[in-house]
Amino acid sequence: MNGNSKNLLGNLIEFRDVSYHINDIPGRAIISGVSLAVPLGETLVLLGRSGSGKTTLLRLINAMYLPSQGDVLVQGRRTVEWDPIRLRRGIGYVIQEAGLFPHFTVAENVGLVPSLEKWDRQRVTARVRELLRLVGLDSAEFADRRPRELSGGQRQRVGVARALAADPPILLMDEPFGALDPVTRAELQREFKALAQRLQKTIVFVTHDLREALALASRIVLLDAGRIVAVAPPQEFLRIEHPEVRAFVASLEAVPGAPV
């Protein structure tokens, strides 16, 4: 199934018939025949069960994996042609549990990519302050703390700030709110959605939670066993008659009285 194949010039990320298998053994395909285009400013949510290939698809974008077949294009250029370091410095990355550097302060974590990019120190400091404010953390209070002195929600905010540090056009997020308690998760989702709209980033967001997908996505892509089985905006998505879509919708309805 094809994503949106018109408007090619505006696509920041594009998958062209991409397959990926470990050690190039075609029988063990993790991703098979994926074609998908992500236009500028979209929040694309990759939804699927564990092992459906969501994270693999995400890692194909920043060249942590290279496709076994087909091409992944970022800003019109194949990932195999990109210098992976340059490519990744232009793509923000947020993961579950944040993956903050435990030996760095919050400020050092957030300022890492700008420092790697050799910004001068004052500019880094100013940028860190700006970003912490953006994610709702008081710089005076948090800048010098270590990650272990933060709550899960605060850590995830720092993770988002770190990903945005060098103002990358693309943001990849791998279940960033997955390890948070439901109340904090809902809070961060709400704030993140507002932030995403304001910053006009192109975002690819991985989750196994349909509720989260509905809350954040401009389009939902459902993956099953490494293949795309459905692509649709949230409201249309709920009406698709594919069995895997129905399975996810049923998971929502499993909670009596839960709003859909």
Binding site: N62, M64, P84, I85, R86, L87, R88, R89, I91, Y93, I95, Q96, E97, A98, G99, L100, F101, P102, H103, L112, V113, L116, R146, P147, R148, R162, L172
Partner: protein, 214 residues
């Protein structure tokens, strides 16, 4: 005559010699440890990214550590250039002995980093050299230091035996004391050696806790 007071008077009389033997001993340990660290830490960093070399290098270091210390001295003596009687042979043996704990801990420390942290580092566009020196190494430092601490304690102990091949140090008193059946002489070597080991263990332990992250 009261036994303990006779030890004390012996210590007091031979204070200068005991101090100089302690200094010799310490020098032997410091030289051996510097060489061992300069070898094992970089080697450990090297094998983290080369699994093929890991088993071989840790295996070889393990062999040296398994050979009884006196036998290792004996095996080294006939070897030209590094062998013979004296301090040089002793240092070579001490280095070989100290390699394994440092190498093993360097490897374990560097490879035991939280995968999420390494994933983030890679995804943020750090080069593998930057990841090694700015992420892996600082996070592994306390584990590496624990290996250095173990190696230092072993070296202080084995260095007493090195006196047997003419390397000097506190072992000289012990072996002479055994030959002359003199408890005072034995203790003049054994007590400072034991205190040295305890003190170094304590100080390095302090440093290790200091460097521990999270």
């Amino acid at each position: 005559m009261n036994a303990s007071s006779s030890y004390w008077s012996f210590f007091a009389e031979h204070r200068a010699e005991i101090l100089s033997a302690t200094a010799d001993h310490l020098l032997l340990v410091v030289i051996a440890m510097l060489i061992a660290m300069a070898t094992a830490v970089p080697l450990g960093m090297f094998i983290v990214q080369r699994p093929a070399l890991r088993a071989a290098s840790i295996g070889i270091a393990n062999i040296f550590q398994t050979i009884p210390s006196l036998a290792l001295f004996g095996l080294l003596i006939p070897i030209p250039f590094i062998g013979g009687i004296g301090r040089r042979t002793a240092i070579v043996a001490l280095v070989l002995y100290a390699l394994l704990p440092i190498l093993r801990n360097t490897y374990v420390g560097l490879s035991g980093i939280d995968p999420a942290v390494l994933e983030a580092a890679e995804a943020m566009g750090m080069t593998s050299t930057q990841i090694l020196f700015r992420v892996r190494f600082p996070l592994a430092l306390s584990v590496i230091l624990a290996g250095i601490r173990t190696a230092t304690i072993i070296t202080i102990g084995v260095a007493t035996i090195a006196a047997e091949i003419g390397a000097g140090g506190l072992g000289t008193f012990i072996f002479r004391g055994v030959a002359l059946v003199s408890d005072s002489l034995i203790l003049a070597g054994a007590m400072p050696a034991a205190l040295l080991a305890l003190l170094v263990d304590f100080l390095l332990g302090l440093l290790e806790r200091r460097l521990k992250v999270a």
